[in-house]
Every structure is written in C-alpha cells, then in structure tokens.
Symmetry: C2
Subunit: 136 residues, 2 copies
C-alpha cells in the first residue's frame, strides 16, 4: 500500500490544478475530501465551509470560465504524519479578447492522507498585491 | 504529558493573536516553530519562507504599529494527528486619528504539535474584498 510522501503530495497538488484548469468538477470532487470539515477561500472571498457550499462555488466558477491554464510555481511542500500542506503561486493564464493575460494568486492547500491517497481539505487562494520587484 | 487537542489548538491560535496585538516579538517567537520550513503570507504580500525572513517582517510590522487590537472570529479548527489548522477572521481594530477603525483579514494558520505544545508553521492572511451582504 502507498504511504504518504512529499512526491505524492506534490502530485496531488498538480492534479488539483489540472482538474481546476480542465473545469472538470467530477475529477475535482475526487481530489477533495468532500466533507463537512472542508474549507475554501477564493481570492477576496469570505471562507466557505463544508463541501456542499464549496462545490457550489466551484461549479459556478467553472460555468463562467471558457479557458484557463494554471501553472503552479514556487511549490513549497511540507509533510507531518498524515497531513501535508503546500504553499505555491497559481499562475493563471486566460484570454481577454485575443490577448493572453496572466494573473497570480498565492495559495495554501492542506491535504489529508486517506486510503484513497491525498485529499484536499483546505484551499486558501488570495490576491498578490505586492509587485515582484518590491519583495522584502 | 499534554496531548494534542482541539481546545489546546484554539488556545494556541488565541495566544498567537495576543502576541500579535501585544507587538511582542519574544512571545511571538515562542509560538512559532521558528524553523526553515515556516511559511508566512501577509495580506497581499508574496509568501515568505524560513523563520529569518518571517521574523524580520514581523519586527518591521511591530515597529510601525503603535496600537492594535485583534479579535479572532468564526474560528474553524481541525485536527489530524499532530497537525492542526485553523481558519478564522482577524478583526483588527486600530486608530486613524481619533477614530477607531475595523479591518478584516481572513487567515489560515497551521500548527505542528511538539513537546513544547502547538507551534505555528504556516500563517496565511489575506484581504476580504467581498462585502458581507454578498456572501455566496
């Protein structure tokens, strides 16, 4: 049987962004714990708790999106027992008219280890307001 | 010996905000893991990793603040093994001239259980841009 590893955790995080950019709610649900304890903060939003409200929000986001490419970067993964957490950037490419635009979000993702692998239990995405040159 | 509990986790989170509003870097350091793996995202900032950069940022924030009261609310605490995580609002009261102002930040805090109790390993604070009435 598989055991929790940093490599597996980073793969689960990558799979989350693949399902996100694929606008695939079924693949997406498989990667989430989909439980009452789940928490999700979309950039600038108040926190949502419980999978019912969280899924509803993602369905809405997916329905209002036609194309999106998400490249995670600066992936910082940590593991302790059966919990893993990741800090990363979401580099989100989309089109405004014919122009390809890049938006950056900073994310914290917490995963719990289960018999079915890593499952997301908390997603916190937030806007980056600090220009890159101004990093402390 | 103490064991990890939800109550203790919520107390550690409250102690974090007490040290924060007390602008007390020594108490603050005691509540952090203060390790290379620590991550901190201030609202709108890019992530900082490693305690050296994180402590430097807090020292700067504390030096530029004369008064602050922080009341956590909607505290959602989760625990799995020796890792605990909290989602909450930081209701930050400060003075602008003689007027008391309220600012809200949404936070994710991840704590690791140690022989010396819960230690913060990740803090992610972000601005709330969504008006309360507009909650999904």
């Amino acid at each position: 049987m598989a055991v929790p590893s940093l490599e597996g955790l980073i793969e689960a995080n990558a799979a989350f962004y693949k399902a996100f950019e694929g606008l695939d709610i079924h693949a997406f649900r498989q990667l989430n714990m989909a439980s009452k304890g789940d928490v999700c903060v979309h950039p600038g939003w108040r926190p949502l708790s419980g999978w019912a409200d969280i899924e509803h929000s993602w369905v809405g986001i997916f329905e209002h999106t036609t194309y999106m490419q998400i490249v995670p970067s600066e992936v910082n993964a940590q593991l302790h027992g059966e919990v893993g957490w990741i800090s990363c950037f979401e580099n989100i490419y989309s089109f405004v008219g014919v122009e390809r635009m890049l938006g950056q979000v900073v994310a914290t993702n917490i995963f719990k280890w289960t018999e079915d692998g890593w499952k997301l239990v908390l997603h916190h995405g937030s806007p980056v307001l600090q220009p890159e040159e101004d990093a402390p």
